[in-house]
Subunit: 312 residues, 2 copies
DNA sequence: ATGAAAGCGCTAACAC
DNA sequence: GTGTTAGCGCTTTCAT
């Protein structure tokens, strides 16, 4: 196959018999061009299969119109729903979305922020929990600050406030609600299926649960706590451990819907009837949670927005 | 907020007291640079929060490392699973993914191919059904051909062969399998919940169903056929219509899992017990289909791959 | 090993 | 209205 290079604007101009500038104007609609010439330019462009080089365009100062999205994993319904929203809004505004996976690794996240910045995105959306580790959070905050200072917009979803626009659910209150719900139902032998303790979301939800327990004269130590990946598989693995070591539990709180779904799946395989034998709760109200078998009881978290003082 | 511009390589060079070329080499590792100078360059870059301009880099001839992904909607589990795979593989190869929604509109798809091409992606992944309309398919094929000719790689998922690498399930056989399954169970009063007839996937699955019916002395006309959006919501809407006009059906074939999920959800709301009162079948083996309530019977489609003769 | 300089393809002054 | 030209920020010869 002959690998013919992409044709350039100058090629179009040549074929149309006009100057580079005229071709640019005709195609971009930036200025008035005689309709006859404009037509010739468009024809030439079509004939050559001309596609403007976005890089050259960006370099020359035209608006780039790209946004960056960093999420844990698009495969997780919680994030795919966020991605859907971001892509829809972006598209409506003629913005292309660069998507990447943090996989909940601070370093990966940081390097993605960098390459998204390198691509001169005009906005950055980071969704998912922040990290308990102050150092990596500080690095991220710095990077975002620099990005903001050079004109970039940042939105954080489900992550602690960082001087940028933020939407974050009240994880502590949510944790308390979940625990109180089970406690009020009389459950005492409860298991917590948690994500990695490196995540602030996990930390916060646990704190909420702890405070609820406190109100009942109990503490987290009275519960069975398993940590695992904050994913469906992580939930399934945790359910296995749970069944082996603490088969007596009457209720499970999974710290997100993905893990809850994994727990439910494993219980279903083992023939354990939910909620008759064991109650299972999740978080986040992920799309699809209502469709699970058995239906998942999930805590819808009220979100709070922070509009950054740096906002323009 | 003072909007300080992004610093450029020349700024780094200046601070490090070296030439532009040396700074470039030190940062890019392209050639040998005295370790002392290299260190100064890296230090300067860090101090200035320097992030190379990917556009300038691309324009200057460096590899761009971007791929484009066009899917119906990342919110649909079928597509988010594909997106997950694409992003993972791309990331492992240092490639950034530009994602966009076709929303199953040929024009939108075409314009996305163009802007992805404009961004000089090295590969393009189109996932989802093709269109019955020959004209729009031809336009797309042309665009992809041009892209391929200029060195781009194309992969089609779930779409008819177009002289590029393709992975496509055997939709006709799948349709027949689904129909035969129900027919063998004795069902005769069957409803088909289909996506838009503009999609080849819908057309093919219906053709398979028709052939199965034919083997039983029946035709599609003997069934109740509803068309709707090829989504969860589309399935729910179709289920409503179905219940109103043909409450006697004993089985439903939804032409994809998204619609099947919508049907199940609506049946659940109405207190209709599946599969006791009505059987429901889906397609695609979408992740999560096994988690639905009630469990969805879904046809796993054997896929066939085509490696394009144009492949390099 | 290092620097000077020539583009990459385009837009936006700036002339006419 | 149209053409000429100077960059945008970088990589890469080409000298040295």
């Amino acid at each position: 196959m002959s690998t013919e290079k992409n044709s350039r604007l100058i090629d179009v101009a040549r074929v149309a018999g006009v100057s580079l500038a005229t071709a640019s104007r005709a195609l971009g609609g930036t200025a008035q061009v005689t309709s006859a010439k404009a037509a010739r330019v468009h024809q030439a462009a079509a004939d050559l299969g001309y596609v403007p080089n976005a890089h050259a365009r960006a370099l020359a100062g035209a608006a780039t119109r790209m946004a960056g999205l960093i999420i844990h994993d698009v495969g997780d319904p919680y994030f795919s729903e966020i991605a859907r929203g971001v892509v829809e809004v972006a598209e409506r505004n003629g913005i292309l979305v660069l998507i990447s996976h943090s996989r909940r690794e601070p370093d990966r996240e940081l390097s993605h922020i960098r390459s998204l910045r390198a691509n001169r995105v005009e906005a950055l959306v980071l969704a998912g929990s922040g990290y308990v580790d102050a150092d990596s959070e500080e690095e991220t905050a710095n990077e975002l600050r620099t990005f903001g200072a050079s004109g970039g917009r940042v939105v954080l979803v489900g992550r602690h406030h960082m001087d940028v626009d933020t939407v974050i659910p009240d994880n502590v209150a949510g944790g308390a609600t979940a625990a109180n719900h089970l406690l009020d139902l009389g459950h005492r032998d409860i298991a917590i299926v948690a994500g990695p303790s490196t995540l602030t979301t996990v930390e916060d939800r646990l704190a909420g649960i702890a405070s609820a327990l406190d109100g009942h004269g109990m503490s987290l130590d009275d519960l069975y706590l398993v940590h695992g990946d904050f994913t469906r598989d992580g939930g399934a693995v945790a359910a296995n451990k749970l069944l082996e070591t603490h088969p007596s539990v009457s209720a499970v709180i999974a710290l997100n819907d993905a893990m809850a779904t994994g727990v439910l799946a494993r219980f279903r395989e083992r023939g354990i009837v939910v909620p008759d034998e064991i109650s299972v709760m999740g978080f986040n109200d992920t799309p699809g949670a209502a469709d699970t078998n058995p239906a998942l009881t999930t805590i819808r978290l009220p979100s709070r927005s922070w509009e950054s003082s740096l906002s323009r």
